[in-house]
Protein backbone atom coordinates (compact mmCIF):
# COMPACT_ATOMS: atom_id res chain seq x y z
CA UNK A 1 0.00 0.00 0.00
CA UNK A 2 2.71 2.43 0.96
CA UNK A 3 4.52 1.53 -2.22
CA UNK A 4 1.53 2.59 -4.30
CA UNK A 5 1.22 5.81 -2.35
CA UNK A 6 4.87 6.64 -2.86
CA UNK A 7 4.60 5.84 -6.55
CA UNK A 8 1.65 8.18 -6.94
CA UNK A 9 3.34 10.93 -4.97
CA UNK A 10 6.51 10.71 -7.01
CA UNK A 11 4.42 10.74 -10.13
CA UNK A 12 2.72 13.91 -8.87
CA UNK A 13 6.03 15.67 -8.39
CA UNK A 14 7.23 14.45 -11.75
CA UNK A 15 4.08 15.73 -13.46
CA UNK A 16 4.39 19.08 -11.74
CA UNK A 17 7.96 19.55 -12.92
CA UNK A 18 7.12 18.30 -16.39
CA UNK A 19 4.15 20.60 -16.80
CA UNK A 20 6.28 23.57 -15.87
CA UNK A 21 9.22 22.70 -18.08
CA UNK A 22 7.33 21.51 -21.11
CA UNK A 23 7.75 23.93 -23.97
CA UNK A 24 4.58 23.26 -25.91
CA UNK A 25 1.65 24.69 -24.06
CA UNK A 26 -0.76 22.03 -25.24
CA UNK A 27 1.32 19.19 -23.84
CA UNK A 28 1.89 20.98 -20.59
CA UNK A 29 -1.87 21.31 -20.22
CA UNK A 30 -2.30 17.61 -20.92
CA UNK A 31 0.27 16.83 -18.25
CA UNK A 32 -1.56 19.12 -15.89
CA UNK A 33 -4.71 17.13 -16.59
CA UNK A 34 -2.87 13.93 -15.70
CA UNK A 35 -1.64 15.62 -12.54
CA UNK A 36 -5.20 16.45 -11.52
CA UNK A 37 -6.37 12.93 -12.24
CA UNK A 38 -3.58 11.46 -10.11
CA UNK A 39 -4.34 13.96 -7.40
CA UNK A 40 -7.94 12.80 -7.29
CA UNK A 41 -6.68 9.21 -7.03
CA UNK A 42 -4.48 10.20 -4.09
CA UNK A 43 -7.45 11.78 -2.38
CA UNK A 44 -9.42 8.61 -2.95
CA UNK A 45 -6.65 6.71 -1.18
CA UNK A 46 -6.89 9.24 1.64
CA UNK A 47 -10.52 8.18 2.13
CA UNK A 48 -12.04 11.38 0.81
CA UNK A 49 -14.30 10.28 -2.05
CA UNK A 50 -16.12 13.61 -2.08
CA UNK A 51 -12.92 15.43 -2.83
CA UNK A 52 -11.89 12.85 -5.39
CA UNK A 53 -15.12 13.21 -7.34
CA UNK A 54 -14.99 16.99 -7.22
CA UNK A 55 -11.34 17.17 -8.25
CA UNK A 56 -11.91 14.75 -11.11
CA UNK A 57 -14.85 16.78 -12.37
CA UNK A 58 -13.55 20.28 -11.67
CA UNK A 59 -9.77 20.00 -11.70
CA UNK A 60 -9.18 17.45 -14.40
CA UNK A 61 -12.34 18.24 -16.35
CA UNK A 62 -13.36 21.84 -16.10
CA UNK A 63 -10.04 23.59 -15.53
CA UNK A 64 -8.30 21.70 -18.32
CA UNK A 65 -11.22 22.37 -20.64
CA UNK A 66 -10.95 26.08 -19.93
CA UNK A 67 -7.23 25.94 -20.65
CA UNK A 68 -7.84 24.12 -23.92
CA UNK A 69 -10.51 26.55 -25.02
CA UNK A 70 -8.32 29.53 -24.25
CA UNK A 71 -5.47 27.98 -26.16
CA UNK A 72 -7.75 27.21 -29.07
CA UNK A 73 -8.97 30.77 -29.15
CA UNK A 74 -5.45 32.10 -29.04
CA UNK A 75 -4.33 29.77 -31.80
CA UNK A 76 -7.29 30.90 -33.84
CA UNK A 77 -6.14 34.48 -33.48
CA UNK A 78 -2.65 33.42 -34.50
CA UNK A 79 -4.03 31.51 -37.46
CA UNK A 80 -5.96 34.54 -38.62
CA UNK A 81 -2.81 36.62 -38.60
CA UNK A 82 -1.03 34.06 -40.69
CA UNK A 83 -3.96 33.92 -43.08
CA UNK A 84 -3.79 37.67 -43.52
CA UNK A 85 -0.12 37.44 -44.25
CA UNK A 86 -0.72 34.70 -46.77
CA UNK A 87 -3.34 36.65 -48.64
CA UNK A 88 -1.01 39.62 -48.90
CA UNK A 89 1.69 37.53 -50.40
Amino acid sequence: MIGLELLLLIFLVFCAIATVLCKRLISSIIIFMAYSAVMSLVWFLLQSPDLAITEAAVGAGMTSLLFFLTLQRINQLKGLEQDEDNTKR
Binding site: I17, A18, L21, C22, K23, S27, I30, I31, A34, P49, D50, I53, T54, A57, V58, G61, M62, L65, L66, L69, T70, Q72, R73, Q76, L77, L80, E81, E84, D85, K88, R89
Partner: protein, 339 residues
Protein backbone atom coordinates in the same frame (compact mmCIF):
# COMPACT_ATOMS: atom_id res chain seq x y z
CA UNK B 1 4.95 9.45 -20.49
CA UNK B 2 5.78 12.64 -22.36
CA UNK B 3 9.48 12.32 -21.82
CA UNK B 4 10.26 11.09 -25.28
CA UNK B 5 8.82 13.98 -27.20
CA UNK B 6 11.87 16.16 -27.02
CA UNK B 7 15.29 15.34 -28.26
CA UNK B 8 17.07 17.34 -25.60
CA UNK B 9 16.37 14.94 -22.81
CA UNK B 10 14.87 15.97 -19.52
CA UNK B 11 18.01 15.90 -17.51
CA UNK B 12 19.76 18.41 -19.66
CA UNK B 13 16.74 20.65 -19.73
CA UNK B 14 16.41 20.57 -16.00
CA UNK B 15 20.07 21.42 -15.70
CA UNK B 16 19.60 24.20 -18.17
CA UNK B 17 16.63 25.46 -16.30
CA UNK B 18 18.40 25.26 -12.99
CA UNK B 19 21.31 27.26 -14.31
CA UNK B 20 18.85 29.68 -15.86
CA UNK B 21 20.42 29.66 -19.22
CA UNK B 22 17.11 29.05 -20.88
CA UNK B 23 15.86 32.54 -20.31
CA UNK B 24 18.88 34.02 -22.00
CA UNK B 25 17.02 33.82 -25.22
CA UNK B 26 19.71 35.47 -27.37
CA UNK B 27 21.62 32.22 -27.89
CA UNK B 28 18.80 29.80 -28.33
CA UNK B 29 15.54 31.60 -28.96
CA UNK B 30 12.50 29.33 -28.67
CA UNK B 31 10.08 31.74 -30.11
CA UNK B 32 10.45 34.09 -33.07
CA UNK B 33 8.30 36.58 -31.22
CA UNK B 34 10.58 36.48 -28.23
CA UNK B 35 13.62 36.72 -30.40
CA UNK B 36 12.27 39.76 -32.08
CA UNK B 37 11.59 41.33 -28.74
CA UNK B 38 15.10 40.56 -27.57
CA UNK B 39 16.45 42.22 -30.65
CA UNK B 40 14.19 45.14 -29.97
CA UNK B 41 15.52 45.46 -26.43
CA UNK B 42 19.06 45.39 -27.71
CA UNK B 43 18.18 47.99 -30.31
CA UNK B 44 16.77 50.43 -27.79
CA UNK B 45 19.72 49.78 -25.57
CA UNK B 46 22.11 50.65 -28.35
CA UNK B 47 20.18 53.42 -30.11
CA UNK B 48 17.41 55.59 -28.85
CA UNK B 49 14.05 54.65 -27.49
CA UNK B 50 11.27 53.98 -29.99
CA UNK B 51 7.94 52.21 -29.78
CA UNK B 52 7.82 48.51 -30.40
CA UNK B 53 5.37 48.92 -33.25
CA UNK B 54 7.60 51.54 -34.81
CA UNK B 55 10.56 49.22 -34.43
CA UNK B 56 8.74 46.42 -36.18
CA UNK B 57 7.72 48.73 -38.97
CA UNK B 58 11.31 49.86 -39.36
CA UNK B 59 12.53 46.29 -39.54
CA UNK B 60 9.89 45.55 -42.10
CA UNK B 61 11.08 48.47 -44.23
CA UNK B 62 14.68 47.29 -43.94
CA UNK B 63 13.79 43.79 -44.98
CA UNK B 64 11.74 45.09 -47.87
CA UNK B 65 14.65 47.14 -49.11
CA UNK B 66 16.87 44.14 -48.93
CA UNK B 67 14.16 42.14 -50.62
CA UNK B 68 14.37 39.48 -47.98
CA UNK B 69 10.78 38.66 -47.16
CA UNK B 70 7.28 39.95 -46.74
CA UNK B 71 6.10 41.38 -43.44
CA UNK B 72 4.90 39.28 -40.60
CA UNK B 73 3.80 42.36 -38.80
CA UNK B 74 0.23 43.02 -37.87
CA UNK B 75 1.11 46.59 -37.04
CA UNK B 76 0.96 47.49 -40.69
CA UNK B 77 -2.42 49.19 -40.54
CA UNK B 78 -0.99 52.61 -39.84
CA UNK B 79 2.76 52.93 -40.02
CA UNK B 80 3.86 54.88 -36.99
CA UNK B 81 6.96 56.93 -37.46
CA UNK B 82 9.82 56.47 -35.06
CA UNK B 83 9.53 59.08 -32.35
CA UNK B 84 12.51 60.60 -30.73
CA UNK B 85 12.28 61.23 -27.05
CA UNK B 86 12.17 64.82 -25.96
CA UNK B 87 15.51 66.39 -25.50
CA UNK B 88 16.82 67.11 -22.06
CA UNK B 89 15.37 63.91 -20.73
CA UNK B 90 17.84 61.16 -20.19
CA UNK B 91 16.85 57.76 -21.43
CA UNK B 92 16.09 55.26 -18.71
CA UNK B 93 17.40 52.42 -20.81
CA UNK B 94 21.08 52.10 -20.23
CA UNK B 95 23.13 49.34 -21.68
CA UNK B 96 21.54 46.04 -20.76
CA UNK B 97 20.00 47.32 -17.54
CA UNK B 98 16.73 45.63 -18.19
CA UNK B 99 18.20 42.22 -18.74
CA UNK B 100 20.33 42.52 -15.68
CA UNK B 101 17.28 43.42 -13.66
CA UNK B 102 15.38 40.45 -15.05
CA UNK B 103 18.21 38.15 -14.11
CA UNK B 104 18.41 39.51 -10.61
CA UNK B 105 14.71 39.09 -10.24
CA UNK B 106 14.97 35.46 -11.27
CA UNK B 107 17.88 34.66 -9.00
CA UNK B 108 16.19 36.40 -6.10
CA UNK B 109 12.92 34.54 -6.55
CA UNK B 110 14.66 31.17 -6.81
CA UNK B 111 16.54 31.97 -3.62
CA UNK B 112 13.37 33.06 -1.84
CA UNK B 113 11.63 29.88 -2.90
CA UNK B 114 14.51 27.76 -1.65
CA UNK B 115 14.42 29.51 1.70
CA UNK B 116 10.66 29.09 1.95
CA UNK B 117 10.99 25.42 1.01
CA UNK B 118 13.64 24.82 3.64
CA UNK B 119 11.68 26.56 6.38
CA UNK B 120 8.51 24.70 5.45
CA UNK B 121 10.40 21.40 5.56
CA UNK B 122 11.52 22.19 9.08
CA UNK B 123 7.94 23.07 9.97
CA UNK B 124 6.60 19.86 8.51
CA UNK B 125 9.03 17.81 10.56
CA UNK B 126 7.63 19.36 13.70
CA UNK B 127 4.00 18.85 12.81
CA UNK B 128 1.99 16.00 14.31
CA UNK B 129 2.58 12.76 12.45
CA UNK B 130 0.57 11.91 9.38
CA UNK B 131 -2.41 9.72 10.23
CA UNK B 132 -1.77 9.88 13.96
CA UNK B 133 -4.70 8.87 16.13
CA UNK B 134 -3.97 11.55 18.72
CA UNK B 135 -3.52 14.51 16.42
CA UNK B 136 -4.59 17.82 17.93
CA UNK B 137 -7.12 18.32 15.17
CA UNK B 138 -8.98 15.37 16.57
CA UNK B 139 -10.91 17.43 19.10
CA UNK B 140 -14.40 18.05 20.35
CA UNK B 141 -15.44 19.79 17.15
CA UNK B 142 -14.81 16.72 15.03
CA UNK B 143 -16.28 14.52 17.69
CA UNK B 144 -19.58 16.34 17.62
CA UNK B 145 -19.69 16.35 13.83
CA UNK B 146 -19.18 12.61 13.72
CA UNK B 147 -21.16 11.63 16.79
CA UNK B 148 -24.21 13.82 16.62
CA UNK B 149 -24.05 14.97 13.03
CA UNK B 150 -26.41 12.29 11.87
CA UNK B 151 -29.13 13.33 14.30
CA UNK B 152 -28.51 17.06 14.15
CA UNK B 153 -28.38 17.48 10.41
CA UNK B 154 -30.06 14.33 9.18
CA UNK B 155 -27.21 13.70 6.76
CA UNK B 156 -25.30 10.46 6.39
CA UNK B 157 -22.47 12.18 4.58
CA UNK B 158 -20.75 14.18 7.30
CA UNK B 159 -19.02 16.51 4.86
CA UNK B 160 -22.29 17.60 3.27
CA UNK B 161 -23.80 18.01 6.71
CA UNK B 162 -20.88 20.12 7.75
CA UNK B 163 -20.67 22.47 4.80
CA UNK B 164 -24.42 23.00 4.47
CA UNK B 165 -25.49 23.04 8.09
CA UNK B 166 -22.71 23.74 10.55
CA UNK B 167 -20.53 25.96 8.40
CA UNK B 168 -23.16 27.15 5.98
CA UNK B 169 -21.95 30.74 6.03
CA UNK B 170 -18.65 29.75 4.40
CA UNK B 171 -20.51 27.86 1.72
CA UNK B 172 -22.65 30.90 1.07
CA UNK B 173 -19.50 32.93 0.57
CA UNK B 174 -18.21 30.26 -1.78
CA UNK B 175 -21.33 30.38 -3.95
CA UNK B 176 -20.85 34.13 -4.06
CA UNK B 177 -17.28 33.61 -5.33
CA UNK B 178 -18.59 31.45 -8.16
CA UNK B 179 -21.30 33.93 -9.01
CA UNK B 180 -18.84 36.81 -8.91
CA UNK B 181 -16.42 34.93 -11.16
CA UNK B 182 -19.19 34.18 -13.67
CA UNK B 183 -20.30 37.81 -13.75
CA UNK B 184 -16.70 38.99 -14.06
CA UNK B 185 -16.06 36.69 -16.98
CA UNK B 186 -19.23 37.93 -18.63
CA UNK B 187 -18.05 41.51 -18.12
CA UNK B 188 -14.68 40.74 -19.62
CA UNK B 189 -15.50 38.50 -22.53
CA UNK B 190 -19.04 39.12 -23.68
CA UNK B 191 -19.65 41.64 -26.34
CA UNK B 192 -23.34 42.38 -26.89
CA UNK B 193 -25.22 40.78 -29.77
CA UNK B 194 -22.37 38.45 -30.46
CA UNK B 195 -23.60 35.43 -32.33
CA UNK B 196 -22.70 32.04 -30.97
CA UNK B 197 -20.51 30.19 -33.36
CA UNK B 198 -22.46 27.71 -35.40
CA UNK B 199 -20.16 24.81 -35.01
CA UNK B 200 -20.56 21.98 -37.36
CA UNK B 201 -22.49 19.43 -35.41
CA UNK B 202 -20.43 16.34 -34.72
CA UNK B 203 -20.72 13.37 -37.00
CA UNK B 204 -23.60 10.96 -37.05
CA UNK B 205 -22.10 8.25 -34.90
CA UNK B 206 -21.29 10.70 -32.14
CA UNK B 207 -24.78 12.12 -32.39
CA UNK B 208 -26.38 8.70 -32.10
CA UNK B 209 -24.11 7.81 -29.23
CA UNK B 210 -24.81 11.05 -27.44
CA UNK B 211 -28.53 10.32 -27.56
CA UNK B 212 -27.90 7.48 -25.17
CA UNK B 213 -24.94 8.91 -23.32
CA UNK B 214 -26.18 12.40 -22.51
CA UNK B 215 -29.27 11.41 -20.54
CA UNK B 216 -27.14 9.02 -18.51
CA UNK B 217 -24.62 11.71 -17.62
CA UNK B 218 -27.39 14.18 -16.81
CA UNK B 219 -29.09 11.58 -14.64
CA UNK B 220 -25.82 10.79 -12.91
CA UNK B 221 -25.24 14.48 -12.22
CA UNK B 222 -28.69 14.83 -10.69
CA UNK B 223 -28.17 11.64 -8.72
CA UNK B 224 -24.92 12.94 -7.24
CA UNK B 225 -26.60 16.22 -6.33
CA UNK B 226 -29.79 14.76 -4.88
CA UNK B 227 -28.11 11.98 -2.93
CA UNK B 228 -25.38 14.34 -1.74
CA UNK B 229 -26.43 14.00 1.87
CA UNK B 230 -26.55 10.22 1.74
CA UNK B 231 -23.60 9.19 -0.39
CA UNK B 232 -20.33 10.83 -1.46
CA UNK B 233 -20.95 13.83 -3.66
CA UNK B 234 -23.17 16.82 -3.25
CA UNK B 235 -23.84 20.14 -4.87
CA UNK B 236 -20.32 20.95 -5.97
CA UNK B 237 -19.31 17.68 -7.56
CA UNK B 238 -22.78 16.99 -8.95
CA UNK B 239 -23.01 20.50 -10.32
CA UNK B 240 -19.68 20.09 -12.05
CA UNK B 241 -20.87 16.83 -13.63
CA UNK B 242 -24.09 18.50 -14.73
CA UNK B 243 -22.09 21.36 -16.22
CA UNK B 244 -19.88 18.86 -18.00
CA UNK B 245 -22.97 17.21 -19.47
CA UNK B 246 -24.23 20.55 -20.78
CA UNK B 247 -20.83 21.26 -22.29
CA UNK B 248 -20.73 17.84 -23.90
CA UNK B 249 -24.19 18.46 -25.31
CA UNK B 250 -23.14 21.73 -26.88
CA UNK B 251 -19.97 20.13 -28.21
CA UNK B 252 -21.82 17.34 -29.93
CA UNK B 253 -25.12 18.94 -30.87
CA UNK B 254 -23.57 22.32 -31.67
CA UNK B 255 -23.42 25.32 -29.40
CA UNK B 256 -26.27 26.99 -31.25
CA UNK B 257 -28.70 24.18 -30.53
CA UNK B 258 -28.11 24.20 -26.82
CA UNK B 259 -27.72 27.94 -26.76
CA UNK B 260 -31.24 28.37 -28.10
CA UNK B 261 -32.69 26.55 -25.11
CA UNK B 262 -30.25 27.82 -22.52
CA UNK B 263 -29.84 31.44 -23.50
CA UNK B 264 -27.36 33.44 -21.51
CA UNK B 265 -30.19 35.36 -19.91
CA UNK B 266 -31.90 32.20 -18.74
CA UNK B 267 -28.68 30.82 -17.35
CA UNK B 268 -28.11 34.01 -15.39
CA UNK B 269 -31.69 33.94 -14.11
CA UNK B 270 -31.33 30.35 -12.95
CA UNK B 271 -28.13 31.25 -11.11
CA UNK B 272 -29.70 34.31 -9.53
CA UNK B 273 -32.78 32.46 -8.38
CA UNK B 274 -30.75 29.57 -6.99
CA UNK B 275 -28.55 31.95 -5.06
CA UNK B 276 -31.59 33.86 -3.78
CA UNK B 277 -33.31 30.64 -2.70
CA UNK B 278 -30.14 29.57 -0.95
CA UNK B 279 -29.89 32.92 0.80
CA UNK B 280 -33.53 32.85 1.91
CA UNK B 281 -33.32 29.30 3.27
CA UNK B 282 -30.09 29.93 5.08
CA UNK B 283 -31.38 33.26 6.38
CA UNK B 284 -34.34 31.44 7.86
CA UNK B 285 -32.17 28.96 9.72
CA UNK B 286 -29.58 31.55 10.76
CA UNK B 287 -32.26 33.85 12.08
CA UNK B 288 -34.29 31.24 13.92
CA UNK B 289 -31.15 29.64 15.29
CA UNK B 290 -29.58 32.83 16.53
CA UNK B 291 -32.73 34.16 18.14
CA UNK B 292 -33.64 30.75 19.61
CA UNK B 293 -37.10 30.85 18.09
CA UNK B 294 -37.32 27.13 17.62
CA UNK B 295 -39.16 26.36 14.38
CA UNK B 296 -36.58 23.94 13.21
CA UNK B 297 -37.21 22.09 10.03
CA UNK B 298 -37.99 18.44 10.80
CA UNK B 299 -34.93 16.40 9.93
CA UNK B 300 -36.68 13.20 8.97
CA UNK B 301 -35.02 9.84 9.13
CA UNK B 302 -31.37 9.93 8.10
CA UNK B 303 -30.56 7.83 5.07
CA UNK B 304 -33.71 8.59 3.10
CA UNK B 305 -33.87 10.86 0.11
CA UNK B 306 -36.30 13.30 1.71
CA UNK B 307 -34.49 13.87 4.93
CA UNK B 308 -32.10 16.33 6.46
CA UNK B 309 -34.41 19.34 6.40
CA UNK B 310 -33.12 21.92 3.95
CA UNK B 311 -30.15 19.83 2.83
CA UNK B 312 -31.79 18.51 -0.33
CA UNK B 313 -32.96 21.89 -1.70
CA UNK B 314 -29.71 23.51 -0.62
CA UNK B 315 -27.71 20.92 -2.48
CA UNK B 316 -29.92 21.41 -5.51
CA UNK B 317 -29.36 25.18 -5.40
CA UNK B 318 -25.61 24.81 -5.09
CA UNK B 319 -25.58 22.24 -7.88
CA UNK B 320 -27.53 24.51 -10.20
CA UNK B 321 -25.25 27.44 -9.42
CA UNK B 322 -22.15 25.38 -10.16
CA UNK B 323 -23.58 23.86 -13.34
CA UNK B 324 -24.75 27.21 -14.69
CA UNK B 325 -21.44 28.86 -13.87
CA UNK B 326 -19.48 26.12 -15.61
CA UNK B 327 -21.70 26.36 -18.65
CA UNK B 328 -21.33 30.14 -18.65
CA UNK B 329 -17.57 29.82 -18.55
CA UNK B 330 -17.73 27.43 -21.47
CA UNK B 331 -19.96 29.62 -23.62
CA UNK B 332 -17.72 32.59 -23.02
CA UNK B 333 -14.54 30.72 -23.75
CA UNK B 334 -15.48 29.02 -27.00
CA UNK B 335 -14.14 30.72 -30.08
CA UNK B 336 -16.60 33.10 -31.64
CA UNK B 337 -17.54 33.93 -35.17
CA UNK B 338 -15.62 37.10 -35.88
CA UNK B 339 -12.28 36.00 -34.59
Amino acid sequence: MKTTQNDNGWFRRILQWASESESEGADAPEDPEKQEFQEYLEYIDAHDYIEFGAYRYMRYQQRKELGLDEPTSHYTAEPPTPQKKQKGKKSHHKQGVLRKQLRWYQVASVLITCVIFWILCLVVMELPEFGALDAPAWNEVVQRYLQQGREETGAVNAITGMILEYRAFDTFGESVVLFAAAISTILLLRTPNQPLRQRKAGDEILKELSKYLLPIILLFGFYVILYGHISPGGGFSGGAILGAALILASLILGAGEVGRVLTSKRVTYITVFSLLTYAVMKFYSFYTGANHVGWEIPKGEAGHLFSGGFLLPLNLCVGLIVACTMYTFYTLFIPTEEE
